[in-house]
Symmetry: C2
Subunit: 212 residues, 2 copies
């Protein structure tokens, strides 16, 4: 599906938006494609715009003082990705935004965002609720990182983002969960022993139980 169609579907599913309003969005957002492995932003650069992921998937990560990568977020289709701190303060970013699949993005710079907040009611609304959900998710992740075991965190992730698990390499998942690839491999082995996997060619089981 074309990038702007994904965007349109995204908003129609959440808020009411007129054709005029969408035309405005279309005029301020700039399409851009990234090949898998290409970067939208590197640490040290100053972020120029936020991105709506229409197709594909990106990851954002930091590199800590010991040179180790830590994945902060995955952003598959219909996710937004931005370093708002760098964007607003013009300070160098701490993050890398890298496409991990061939991806289509729609970019929105600071003035464009202001324009949409002012002139597109549904945008402002969706932006606000998005921030709020995002903040709540971060709180949960903090508590989970500090209190849950590696296996519990993996199972949580499985429940919360079932679609992502199948798309990203295991070592990225491990990085996101804050565990070593070896540990994740062992966790999966244990789980598949205890709760045996459905056979690999069989009927679609249909039970992707929805998270809340």
């Amino acid at each position: 599906m074309a990038a702007f169609d994904v965007l349109h579907a995204f908003f129609k599913a959440r808020v009411t938006i007129t054709d005029d309003e969408f035309a405005l969005m279309r005029s301020v957002m700039v399409p851009r494609s990234l090949a898998s492995g290409a970067f939208l932003l590197r640490a040290g650069e100053i972020a120029q715009q936020a991105a709506f992921v229409a197709n594909g998937c990106l990851r954002s990560y930091t590199v800590d003082s010991k040179g180790k990568e830590h994945i902060v977020q995955f952003a598959p289709e219909t996710y937004w990705l931005a370093d708002t701190t760098s964007l607003m303060t013009r300070a160098p970013s701490q993050f890398f935004f890298e496409a991990i699949e061939d991806s289509d993005l729609l970019l929105l710079d600071g003035p464009g965002h202001e324009r949409l907040v002012r002139d597109v009611r549904g945008y402002a609304e969706s932006f606000r609720t998005g921030l709020q959900k995002h903040a709540a998710a971060k709180d949960r992740r903090i508590v989970s990182a500090m209190s849950a075991s590696a296996e519990e965190r993996y199972l949580e992730f499985l429940n919360t983002y079932p679609s992502i698990v199948t798309r990203v390499p295991q070592w990225m998942l491990a990085s996101y969960l804050g565990i070593s690839p070896e540990t994740l491999s062992r966790i999966r082995k244990n789980l598949s022993r205890r709760k045996p996997r459905r056979a690999r060619g069989g009927q679609p089981s249909g039970n992707e139980n929805q998270s809340r």
Copy 2:
């Protein structure tokens, strides 16, 4: 200092605000005092308002599935405290907000907030930058929780919130850092051996260097 004076100082230090605007804020925010140990919000209740802490200190915490407490945030004077999720969705909160010192608050309900966002330029501005800073702090805490050792996290906290360390009991600090009280005690012992503390009353003995 009286609660509204603290609020006034808070805004004057960050944005420009007219007397009329501040009069409006005064009219929509409701003072409330909490004795140490009293709750502003309990898990299961629906949050009714955000709070500005003018004096004292609160903590917010959740209780996980195993019945263990996890402190999510400390809120000393000039901090804001709110469960925006519960506030906006009218869903039961996951959090407890408890005063850990006798505290003076100024409460702001949903409509009051909307009013201020609309009519007080500086409020909307400060609200937005506040959200942004808060989100960035959470990202840092996530990465830190996943990558740093207990000692590193403690030192980070010491640097970031030096004033809080002296005010809260150690077991609360441990809960915030996601480590056991015993571990925090041992960390402090090690640090004071390595980077000797000023002596408590007696002669400084000189050489504490009995390394392991």
